[in-house]
Subunit: 272 residues, 2 copies
C-alpha cells in the first residue's frame, strides 16, 4: 500500500496532511476540512489511511493538545522543500498585501502562446516579428519552436531560427501579437539542438573572501558539506544561471568553481 494506490483526490489530501506534519509538526482533521471542503467523517478516514501508510514513523495523537503530533523521526511520504511548503506555513494570514514578496509578473498574450504550443506539437515553423531589445529592431523571421523553458522568472520558447541558423531562446512577450503567424511545414528535419542536449554541471563554492565561519554558514544554507555544490542543468539554460542564483550581485555568497559539459542521450531518438 503506497500513495500511488490511491485516487488522485485522496492522494492530494494525504500529501497535504503529510506536509502539515512535516513542516508544522502537527495536524488536525480541521486542516483537511478547511482546505478540501470534506466532511469530518471523511477527514477521519483520511487520517486512518495516513496512519496505515506511515507505518515506520506514524504521528501520535496528543489528547492534551488535541492534535496529531509528528513523530520526532517523522519521515515524509512525499518529500518537499520549504519553499513549496510556504503556503502551508503562511496560511491563516489572508491579509493583503500578502506575506510573500510580489514577483515581477510577466504578461504574455494567450493567443501567441497557444499558437506556439500548437506549432511545437505539429512540428511547424511560424513566421513572427520579434523585438530584440539589444538591437532594438523589429525583426521578421521564420522560427521552428521546439519547447517551452523557464528560467524561473519568465517563460521562454526554445526555437530554431532559420535566419540565424541556430537555436535560440525567445521571450513570447516580445513576439508581436500581430505577426502573421503564417505556418509552414518543415521541409527537412531540424538540426540537433546541441546545447539543449548538453548537460551543464556547475560546481559552486562559497565566495572567496569569506571567512571559514561564513563559508560554513553558506554551505549549510545551501545544503552541501564538501567543498563544492553540484548543480545540473542544460547548456541551453546556462545563460540564465548566474542571474537565477544571484551570482553577479554584490552580496553573492557563492561563486562558480568550474563547469563541465557532457552530452545527454536524447529522450527520444531525433528529439531536438
Amino acid at each position: 500500500m503506497t500513495l500511488d494506490d490511491l485516487k488522485h483526490a485522496q492522494r492530494e489530501r494525504l500529501i497535504f496532511l503529510d506536509r502539515c506534519l512535516t513542516w508544522r509538526g502537527m495536524a488536525n482533521r480541521r486542516d483537511l476540512i478547511e482546505r478540501f471542503g470534506i466532511s469530518t467523517a471523511q477527514a477521519a478516514l483520511d487520517f486512518r489511511v495516513y496512519l496505515g501508510l506511515a507505518r515506520s514513523t506514524p504521528p501520535i495523537y496528543d489528547p492534551v493538545r488535541k492534535t496529531y503530533i509528528a513523530a520526532t523521526e517523522h519521515e515524509p511520504l512525499a518529500p518537499s522543500g520549504l519553499t513549496e511548503a510556504f503556503d502551508i506555513l503562511a496560511s491563516g494570514d489572508e491579509s493583503m498585501p500578502s506575506a510573500a514578496l510580489p514577483r515581477p509578473e510577466r504578461k504574455a498574450d494567450r493567443r501567441t502562446i497557444a499558437l506556439l504550443h500548437q506549432a511545437i506539437r505539429s512540428g511547424k515553423a511560424v513566421h513572427v516579428r520579434y523585438t530584440s531589445i539589444s538591437s532594438g529592431a523589429d525583426d521578421e523571421q521564420w522560427i521552428a519552436p521546439t519547447r517551452f523553458t523557464s528560467d524561473g522568472e519568465s517563460v521562454h520558447v526554445r526555437a530554431h531560427s532559420f535566419k540565424h541558423g541556430e537555436y535560440r531562446n525567445y521571450l513570447p512577450i516580445r513576439i508581436d501579437p500581430d505577426s502573421s503567424f503564417e505556418e509552414k511545414l518543415l521541409a527537412e528535419p531540424l538540426p540537433e539542438d546541441v546545447d539543449w542536449n548538453t548537460r551543464a554541471i556547475i560546481w559552486l563554492r562559497p565566495k572567496s573572501g569569506l571567512s571559514d565561519r561564513q563559508a560554513s554558514v553558506v554551505r549549510s544554507e545551501f545544503g552541501f558539506e564538501g567543498e563544492f555544490l553540484r548543480v545540473e542543468t542544460r547548456k541551453a539554460l546556462e545563460f540564465f544561471f548566474n542571474r537565477r542564483w544571484g551570482l553577479d550581485t554584490k552580496g553573492a555568497r557563492l561563486e562558480r568553481a568550474k563547469t563541465e559539459y557532457e552530452p545527454i542521450a536524447p529522450a527520444w531518438p531525433n528529439d531536438n
Copy 2:
C-alpha cells in the same frame, strides 16, 4: 452555477481544463484522464460541466483535429499567469534535466520550522542561537516569532527580537538546530510591528538611458502602459525587493521612481 459550487476534486479538474484551453488553446479528455486518473466517462462529464460554466465563450469541438479549441475570445474561468501555467506547457517532456532552470534549494530543518510554527501559534518566545553572517557570530537570544514570510527565494521568520528591541527577519536555516528552544510565555503583549503594518507602494519605470523603443518593450513586458508600474508590498519586505526584481543587477531594465508608505489597518485588532 460557478466554479465555487463544485466539489474540490472536480473544481481542480475544471481549472486544469481551463488552463489548457487558455494557454494551449486546446484540450482533450485525454488530458484530464492522464492528469487525474479518471475514466473517459468522467472526463466527458467534466467537459459538459465546463461547457455549462463557460457560457460566454465556450470552446468548440473540432472534429477534424479531434480536440476542443478555445474560442478566440476565450475568457478564463480562473485567471492564471504564464509562469503558473508553465508546467501545463512543458508537460510531456519528463526528461532530466528538466526544462526549468533549477533554483537554489534552501534547506531547512524540519524540527526547527515546526518549533517556530508552534511558537507563532501559541504566542510564545523561544530561545535560539542564531548565526549572523554579517557579524559572523553565534548569537543567543530570545525571539518572539510572529509569522513566516517569503522573499521568493527563501522563507523567513518575522520575529520580535528582545535583544535588539525590534522586529527582524530571520532565516530559519541559520538557527542552530541544537539551540535550547526553551519557551517562555510573553509577559506583556508585543509592540506593534510597524514595518509589517506599513504598505510600501513602489513605483517603477523603465531604466533611464533606454531608448523610447526599448522603454516601450520593457513596458509591454511588465504589463504597464503609463509612465509607472505600481507594485505593492509591506515595508518589512522591502529590503528584499531590489534583489527579487533584479534592480541592482547590471542588465536591469527597471528602476525605482519613488516609494510611498501608508499604514495598513491590521487584519485583526492587536495583530502584530
